[in-house]
């Protein structure tokens, strides 16, 4: 158990008190999740100082409900990114399964809500497994595959709906009511997100499946040598991402009570941005659940806070961009040397210092 605890961005220092030097140099590369959590708290407090209304229970409740969908999508996107992949099709998948569940509920209003949700989940799973098959078993590049399926799924939404909107009066009442229904004071959306966090935390941290994903991301070739069935793992990773997108598709459509072709257009990049802010390396093998959750929360806080402090909502996208860029720059500082330095300079200086008198002798 204690052996495979190092799932954070950088393996923590060994047992006992780390020496000062390694603590200083490790400042840039140690896990960022606490830092990010502090940043989010500080941001909330700062906004609260300007606009006390932001700190009320009602506004916090809104914030949590708003962040549920990006958090859920960021969780599975994180698993995909950990395997050195990327899933650009989540937003289109979300739109397609959302539209299909809306059409299903429209044509069969008497269907129990649980069945509709299960259908949305299964549709998303099937769409994700198509990606997974192409990426896992045919070993095609993930970015190309999901770029293609993104277009196909988005187009299919249009074909299915005929370009028409499915609006709230076409949907049964309990279909719309479920996401914002409350259980012990919190909306169902928040509970579902919490459930997803717990389940995926367990999967990523304590199951063979989850650990295999990290192994694949760290070194696909080595993962193959130690006997990890990469194709099968990738197949189900993208399936998982699809299933989550399917679930979120239903939730999105039901929450906003409308389904049309362009829902969640461009949302895939927001989800990936949340992962990047959470310290998940696009190069694979690095990242954990808390990072994904905090990254998505951070974006949600920015989005919800801007109207509160009377900054034009048009700033939202620009600020998001700035946050992403600063996050990656901070994340990269620890790795910069390793990537760019071809010859280890400190090794040479050490060598010269110790071997300086000897170098005069003819070779």
């Amino acid at each position: 158990m204690s052996l495979n605890q190092n799932s954070g961005p950088a393996p923590g220092p060994g047992p006992g008190r780390p020496p000062l030097f390694s603590r200083l140099s490790g400042l840039a590369s140690r896990p960022r999740e606490p830092l990010l959590a502090v940043l989010i708290a500080a941001l909330i407090l700062l906004v609260g100082l300007r606009a006390p209304a932001f700190l009320t229970m009602r506004s916090m409740d809104n914030l949590l409900t708003d962040s549920a969908l990006p958090v859920m999508l960021a969780l599975t996107q994180m698993l995909v990114i950990v395997t050195r992949g990327i899933d650009l099709s989540v937003a289109s998948n979300l739109a397609l399964s959302g539209m299909m569940s809306a059409l299903l509920a429209m044509h069969f209003p008497q269907l129990p809500i649980g069945l509709v949700i299960a259908c949305a989940l299964c549709i998303g799973l099937a769409l994700g497994l198509i990606n997974g098959w192409l990426i896992g078993y045919l070993s095609l590049p993930p970015i190309v595959v999901t770029l293609g399926s993104m277009s196909v799924y988005r187009g299919l939404v249009f074909v299915l709906s005929g370009g028409a909107w499915v609006s709230s009066r076409n949907m049964p009442a309990d279909f719309i009511a479920f996401p914002l229904g409350r259980l012990m004071g919190l909306t169902h959306l928040v509970w579902l997100a919490a459930l997803a966090i717990v389940v995926l935390w367990f999967v990523a941290r304590h199951t063979r499946f989850g650990r295999d994903l990290y192994a694949i991301g760290n070194d696909p070739v080595a993962a193959g040598y130690v006997g990890i069935a990469s194709p099968q793992r990738l197949f189900w990773t993208y399936g998982l991402s699809g299933a989550m997108a399917g679930l979120c598709g239903y939730l999105w459509v039901a929450r906003y009570a409308v389904a049309y072709t362009e829902i969640a257009y461009g949302f895939e990049l927001t989800v990936i941005a949340a992962c990047v802010i959470g310290g998940i390396s696009i190069a694979g093998g690095v990242g954990n659940i808390s990072g994904a959750v905090l990254g998505a929360l951070f974006l949600a806080v920015i989005n919800n806070a801007l109207p509160m402090v009377q900054i034009s909502p048009f700033w939202q996208s620009a600020l998001t961009g700035l946050v992403i860029l600063s996050a990656v720059i901070i994340n990269a500082r620890g790795e910069k040397k390793r990537n760019k330095q071809i010859l280890p300079l400190h090794f040479h200086t050490e060598l010269r210092a110790t071997a300086a008198p000897v170098t005069r002798t003819p070779a």
């Binding site: 990327i86 650009l88 192409l134 045919l138 070993s139 095609l140 590049p141 970015i143 190309v144 595959v145 770029l147 293609g148 399926s149 993104m150 277009s151 196909v152 799924y153 988005r154 187009g155 299919l156 249009f158 074909v159 370009g163 070739v221 193959g224 072709t261 257009y265 461009g266 990049l269 990936i272 941005a273 990047v276 696009i282 190069a283 034009s312 048009f314 700033w315 939202q316 996208s317 620009a318 600020l319 998001t320 961009g321 700035l322 992403i324 860029l325 990656v328 720059i329 990269a332 500082r333 790795e335 910069k336 990537n339 760019k340 071809i342």
Partner: protein, 337 residues
């Protein structure tokens, strides 16, 4: 040293470079560009047979307006992808440069100056991307996702919910005008740019080095190529071309709106990959990209004539992309790992 000399006394080079093999049809069929060419001809013929108004020269010329701007960005994007980089922010650069032109126009900058403003803004955006990627050794996909958000955000901050209109005549001349009354100007610009890029990539040492970097950046660095300088230059070039495309697009539609060029980045990347450029870097040609652009352009035009909504086109493009990468892989069988 001695042993080497004994066994191979005549050879001076370390490797044998074989003679170029004789011409075979099978080799031709394995060429991506050849297959794309066949596809283009097939699409063209099918359209001619099914659609009575397809083979109208003026219609054909006008259909190039739809893809010229995207194709202009696809050219440097191909270079970037060959070099193992990518730029997601191009459509946001178009938006920002279009907004910059709108602001400049508002303050009375003359028409020629607008082109300078547009292309200059694009160049600066590309420079920012390039500096972030090379100075901080960041993965370009992450940087450009961030800068996409930033550029589009800045554009929408300046623009608000307004739109810039009243652009001078010169701009619309270039955006929707013709040379000699037949050749659309954006298409002419595209042809010139494609020739320049093809010459740059395929006929100069500069181009060969891009392939070298794409095949193995570390080996390229070891063999004395200033890898980071090339990357930076490519990002700047992409930004400049996006700025140019922004000028033409603004001229064509005559206004700057918040959703200008929304979602183009993924379309452009799709075209580049369809053109046979390997996403893993190190392979691809400008000819292939141009053929892919023309093929998709013809399909779009045919669908438009057949009165099929444009979004069906996204299914076609996506399916085409998936099949073109999956079929060769299925035919080849198990991958060698």
């Amino acid at each position: 040293m001695n042993i080497m000399a004994d066994t191979a006394p005549v050879k001076t080079a370390r490797y044998d470079i074989g003679e170029r093999g004789s011409f075979r049809i099978a080799d031709l069929l394995r060429q991506w560009e050849f297959l794309l060419g066949l596809l283009l001809v097939a699409v063209f013929c099918i359209n001619c047979l099914l659609l009575p108004h397809f083979l109208d020269f003026y219609n054909l010329a006008d259909s190039t307006f739809n893809f010229s701007e995207k194709a202009l960005i696809a050219l440097p994007m191909a270079l970037l992808i060959i070099c193992r980089e990518i730029d997601i922010s191009v459509s946001a650069v178009i938006a920002l440069s279009s907004v910059a032109m709108g602001v400049a126009n508002h303050y009375g900058v003359p028409a020629v100056g607008l082109f300078v403003v547009g292309i200059g803004t694009g160049t600066l955006c590309g420079l920012l991307n390039g500096l972030l990627v090379t100075r901080f050794a960041l993965p370009s996909i992450v940087v450009t996702i961030g800068s996409m958000s930033l550029f589009r955000g800045l554009a929408s901050v300046v623009l608000g919910d307004q739109a810039f209109t009243n652009y001078p005549e010169l701009l619309s001349d270039w955006g929707q005008g013709y040379f000699f009354d037949v050749l659309p100007r954006p298409f002419a610009v595209l042809i010139v740019a494609a020739l320049a890029f093809a010459a740059l990539l395929h006929c100069t040492a500069w181009g060969r080095r891009i392939y070298a970097i794409g095949n193995n950046p570390v080996a390229a660095r070891f063999s004395g190529i200033a890898v980071d300088r090339y990357r930076l230059m490519l990002f700047v070039l992409t930004g400049a071309m996006a700025g140019l495309a922004g000028c033409l697009l603004t001229g064509r539609i005559g206004s700057t709106r918040p959703n200008i060029a929304l979602g183009w980045e993924l379309e452009i990347i799709t075209v580049v990959i369809l053109g046979g450029v390997s996403i893993a870097g190190g392979a691809g040609t400008i000819g292939g990209v141009l053929l892919a652009v023309l093929t998709l352009g013809m399909v779009t035009y045919g669908l438009a004539l057949a009165n099929i909504p444009g979004i069906i086109m996204t299914i076609v493009v996506g399916a085409l992309l998936l099949t073109t990468i999956a079929v060769p892989r299925l035919l080849r069988g198990k991958a060698t790992r």
